[in-house]
Subunit: 142 residues, 4 copies
């Protein structure tokens, strides 16, 4: 089972609502299914040109290695050469900073991942978590 489009839209709406409430910078939100493929994406007006690619890379890296992108940052701090090599190995899209959050259902099954980019990494992650919880799902940021 994977995130369907209606759920993805709910996640994006929830993430954006949380961002507007906190007055964050314009965000880009990308939702991937459990195979790492795009289900839906929205780039808010004023979010820079390649934010889709950054947000995608956070979520794609999380799916690829089965860890939220905050855990990938910790690994990058310890072993930068591992993250560099893994990025090449998985095909070039793995952004190891917070904001790529795994999505699980109540029984722990992996459904997909959400990537957010545009504000600080911590704020990006908080928006992703808010969106996931708005859809009644479990967020795994690391």
């Amino acid at each position: 089972m994977a995130i369907d489009l209606q759920t993805a839209r709910t996640v994006i709406e929830g993430a954006r609502a949380a961002a507007r409430e906190k007055d964050l910078k314009p965000l880009t939100v990308v939702v991937l299914d459990a195979g790492g493929h795009v289900v839906a994406a929205e780039r808010e007006d004023g979010s820079s040109t390649k934010r889709f690619e950054i947000a995608f890379g956070k979520a794609h890296g999380a799916i690829a290695l089965g860890l939220g992108s905050r855990a990938l940052m910790a690994r990058a701090e310890q072993q930068p050469y591992f993250i560099a090599a893994a990025t090449a190995a998985v095909g070039g899209s793995l952004v190891p900073v917070p904001g790529g959050v795994l999505v699980r259902d109540g029984s722990g099954t992996l459904l997909g991942a959400v990537g957010v980019s545009g504000d600080t990494s911590d704020n990006d992650e908080a928006a992703a978590v808010a969106g996931i919880e708005a859809a009644g799902l479990q967020a795994q940021p690391d």
Copy 2:
């Protein structure tokens, strides 16, 4: 000026509504701004894993060369080596079949492009045009 997110959402909604009315296969719709960057995307349930990449490639190729992807197909029929070379030159994402449609305002200014993939190329293009017109904008399919 470029397509803003609200307009992109209207385009996607219009394209999907037209597709459901004609009972097309599940579609993926991608909207790019005038710089060729993702504004919004939705992949309907059942649309295959890499449809985002195909739809993106149609729209990205259209922006890259300033022609709807139907015109790129005509060129591919005449000079396949040109399209192959252009694909490499622009960075690998240029899909020369109908379904990549330029978006212009009433005075002809380029605002962006829409890419659709999932059904036949002709039906993909018709859905893209319907979405653009639903937003009160001008569609240029070739």
Copy 3:
């Protein structure tokens, strides 16, 4: 839902048994999940060095576009420039000849794909189908 490892092993065993019964050349069999990721692979002794990559490309292309690789061959015959462009767009691994077969359960849900390479494309496909049926699943070769 996707193919689990035990099912993948059954598919490979079934494909290889069919190949030995028909006295085919040494085969490589790759099983992917519904997201296009490797679950299991075996390369028979004497199967050439890059057969994994060819078999993977057949199955990966099938998952990417939601069609068995026989249908991708038909498209390549009609519009070679589309297949060339799609190959670039999906990341370089899409081999449009028979032998990449989608796997569905009894209700039609996509579970993954099987790629086979080593003998003629028709024989490769027959082995893939035999393996899928040995696991009690539905094969979609085009």
Copy 4:
């Protein structure tokens, strides 16, 4: 001479049995021949989507430079620019952390390599060594 398929299956079975005995996380095990080409691979249920690529990269890097991937990690700690450059030079798949183990016969002849990914790098390596020894062969982790 190189690892044949039957031996590769024995290695994978041994690695997985050792992993289950130690209650490791779900692993992906890849066996390459002496030319660095896939002989067999298995991804256990729950092992994340790109673990094949990571495990492959450990084994491929080991074959590429003739050293177990633990030695590549030591080199990465000392000269990260060398490992980055070598990764590009060999085609992008060289993952310099433990878990890529060379396989030799009793007289020291190189037969191939095993790559494991899914748990800690040390545990991945231990599973690879256990698999190689289960097949009566010599493991070279560094």
